[in-house]
């Protein structure tokens, strides 16, 4: 569905040239659900905008839905659905108007466009708001309408640029329910960008971690966590000496990558924490160290990001937000 080779995009700004995307090589097959995960400014949107023909690449090629984005933008547009970061629907319109207009934009006749509009209003639980002004809808309702607009022509390939940013948790869950249904029921190929790691982890079958215009990792989320980060066992002891002792014991546990002591707390990193935890506790008992509490934590994509870039995704996002404000 998507094939790119050495796709780049740079922008000229006052102080010089910004390379937003530095060589994207990507191959997405039919039916995949792919997340572009990275901090703001990593190049996620720029990548999506090149793939949707909104932005021409500085160099490289991209074939989307069987058509070259530079040579046949009209063919690409016919076959894809796109949800931008803004609102798809005009604020002065009613949801039904815009769904109808969108059908007409894709070449449907009036009757077909009207029928499709009503169908989508029902599918996305928007029928009660069909005749309200878009500007007066809630954020979640508006976002649902945005997705419905992107689906009017039943595209096999869908691009979603931060589909749930700025929504409350309940609306986010609702949006994702719709996106997943689309993927499961119709086998729609979906690429979405996000800076919420939970979203990439929970919903995507494949995650591209993007940083500074490059893809730094590309795999199933479970595999990424397995390979790029480790489980962590945290044990607390009664005093600092026991903690140090516990660390030495921990390093002997098979599969352990190392232990750190912090006061009365020991952190042990290891590959398979579920199997390692009972083993570690038995070893501690045998060594006469009394563990007061024991906790196992699995790695998150944030740990993967940290391992790959040396920074935390959360911190990067927070820094940027305070920088912008």
């Amino acid at each position: 569905m998507i094939q790119t080779r050495a796709l780049t995009r740079s922008f000229r700004i006052k102080k010089g040239v910004v390379e937003a995307v530095r060589g994207l090589d990507l191959s997405v097959s039919e039916g995949e659900l792919v997340a572009f995960l990275g901090p703001n400014g990593a190049g996620k949107s720029t990548s999506l905008r090149m793939l949707t023909s909104l932005l021409s690449p500085t160099s490289g090629t991209a074939v989307v839905a069987g058509h070259d984005v530079v040579r046949e933008p009209a063919q690409v547009r016919r076959h894809i659905g796109y949800l931008g970061q803004g609102n798809n629907a005009g604020h002065l319109y009613e949801p039904r108007d815009e769904l109808y207009n969108q059908g007409r934009f894709y070449g449907m006749d009036r009757r077909a466009a009207r029928r499709r509009a009503d169908e989508l209003l029902t599918d996305f639980d928007l029928a009660p708001m069909a005749r309200r002004r878009v500007g007066s809808l809630s954020g979640g309702q508006r976002r649902r309408l945005d997705i419905a607009l992107a689906l009017v022509h039943r595209p096999r390939l869908l691009f979603l640029d931060e589909p749930s940013t700025g929504l409350d948790p309940q609306s986010r869950a609702h949006i994702w329910q719709h996106i997943r249904r689309l993927h499961e029921l119709h086998g729609t190929t979906i690429s979405f960008s996000t800076h919420y790691l939970e979203e990439a982890d929970q919903y995507a079958g494949r995650v591209l971690i993007i940083d500074n215009g490059r893809v730094v990792a590309d795999d199933r989320p479970e595999r990424l966590k397995e390979q790029q980060a480790s489980d962590c066992i945290t044990v607390t002891t009664g005093d600092e000496e026991s903690a140090r002792h516990a660390a030495t014991v921990g390093e002997q546990v098979p599969g352990a990558h190392g232990a750190t002591v912090d006061g009365k707390t020991v952190r042990l990193r290891l590959g398979d924490g579920a199997a390692g935890l009972p083993e570690y506790l038995r070893a501690l008992e045998a060594a006469g160290v009394k563990a007061l509490t024991a906790e196992l934590s699995r790695p998150t994509l944030d740990d993967v990001f940290l391992n790959l870039t040396g920074r935390r995704l959360r911190e990067t996002a927070a820094e940027q937000e305070s920088g912008e404000a």
Partner: protein
Amino acid sequence: MKTVTDTGIAFAREMVPELRAPIALAVNAVLPLLFLALFGPLLTSTPGIGEGSPWQWFLPGILVLLALSGTAGAGANLLMEINSGSFERMLVTPMNRTALLAGRTLKEVLTLAAQGVLLILVLLPTSFELFPLGALAGLVLLATFGVGLGALSFTLAVLARKQEQVFYLVQQACFLPLMLLSGVLLPMSLAPSWLYTVSRFNPVAHIVEAERALFAGRFAEPAVLYGGVCALAIAGLGLFFGARVMRDVRV
């Protein structure tokens, strides 16, 4: 062919809010109505406006003012849609891009013509004398001017999308001199010669004079030719630049 069909579809979308709330159309005509009602009578004994009803002289200018104040601001709506994201969505559809702009322009022109007709109807019961053919030609001239103004306004909106204030700044900076130098409110023949000379370089002044000739039922005048050429030139420039910015627009 696709361009024509797509223009129709884009036009239909633009018309929806207008048809839903036709009152907006009338509200936009309030400013010129006020001019007609409160300024028109002041002109009664002004030299240079000819015999007969002052409205005979004043209406054509007011129509042009309507285009300058309304149609030229059409880009503000587009700017809003660019910033909200709905314009981007249209750019990702297979719609012909020139048609997206042409449909918008068409709606602006139709609105302008409808407001023009409204003003004429308001004046009919007064001493205003209607020359049907002249008035029709005057509206066609006005529509041609409107095509150019609308398209230029959209072009400006696209160019200024990153800095909204630039749009309003340029629009205001153009509006006042173009209006003051066009003789909409008072005849340019009253102006000192330097001011009159400057006004000759203002295409809007020629369009106003052409409108006045046409609304008086006079076709065979050089003013009509000059005004027509100016309106056509502005329409041509607007469509040329409009099509150009739309071709490689990114928002």
